[in-house]
Amino acid sequence: MRVGVVTFPGSLDDQDAARAVRLAGGEAVSLWHGDCDLRGVDAVVLPGGFSYGDYLRCGAISRFAPVMEPLIAAAKGGLSVLGICNGFQVLCEAHLLPGALIRNDHRMFVCRDQRLSIERTDTPWTNQYQRGEEIVIPLKNGEGGYVADDATLDMLEGEGRVVARYVGGNPNGSYRNIAGVSNEAGNVVGLMPHPEHATEPFFGPDPRSGTTGLDGMRFFTSLLEKVAAA
């Protein structure tokens, strides 16, 4: 199971994403934004960070990086792709996912352990969760407000494409408390909070908060399960 992790100039969480892949039992393959091929990987993670300094709009310049051309084609063909935080912004800019992410409504950077409810569990990234299960993983963003027009939001909810929602307060003004969405087939998932930061004891959310601190791990073990079953 080879999982590519793309590094753009300004990516921040690529090493953590690669580590999460390894902890889950996969092989992490570094992909460079300037690469023109995906090196035969079975899935791709677009990590968090501030690619291209968030210039123009978050993800707007990365979306046209050379590696995105084969990635967009492969994603449309069914390749499993997870975009976390900045990666989610890149997927929206690439129109692989609907909507967009704008500056938090309260205009402050938010960094905290965040409760989420997992709502779509038939994706390669979430099949190890129960529908409606609440998890806690870190959230850290300045531009994490998920927005789309009402017709798009209705469509996402009607088709069951909301992957995760914020629970216990909306941290960034996201419409309908949406924390993550998927494409129609479910192989492409974008998520604003960071599952890769909740995969190792004592390095994720505080276990004293009543969670294991490892709630993010199943995003990565789900993938292995999916590939093993395929």
Binding site: L56, A60, A100, I102, R103, D149
Partner: protein, 95 residues
């Protein structure tokens, strides 16, 4: 040297946190007659020679592809900047 100006604004229905912050600061400075502020972006694209209809067409294409995100923004203006030549002269005087 010609110049094309592209103006991009957040869509009216999308929250504009930057505009809100600027409106708050204006009010604190006593400019309370400006009830709301929306902040957009202006791009200046330089071209060799005259701005032709073809070049404006290319600029419109680039505005839709890269300079704006149609999900959250509108391109409200793509036009030749008539003052481009004058400002080039100004630069010459200053230097």
């Amino acid at each position: 040297m010609g110049r094309i100006v592209v103006d991009v604004m957040p869509k009216p229905e999308i929250l504009d946190p930057q505009g809100k912050a600027v409106a708050g600061a204006l009010a604190r400075l006593g400019y309370d007659e400006f009830g709301a502020v929306r902040q957009g972006k202006r791009f200046e694209l330089e071209v060799d020679g005259e701005v032709t209809p073809e070049l404006l067409g290319r600029a419109r294409e680039a505005a839709g592809l890269l300079l704006s995100n149609p999900v959250i923004e509108d391109v409200v203006n793509v036009s030749a900047d008539e003052s481009a030549d004058e400002s080039a002269d100004d630069d010459a005087v200053v230097s």
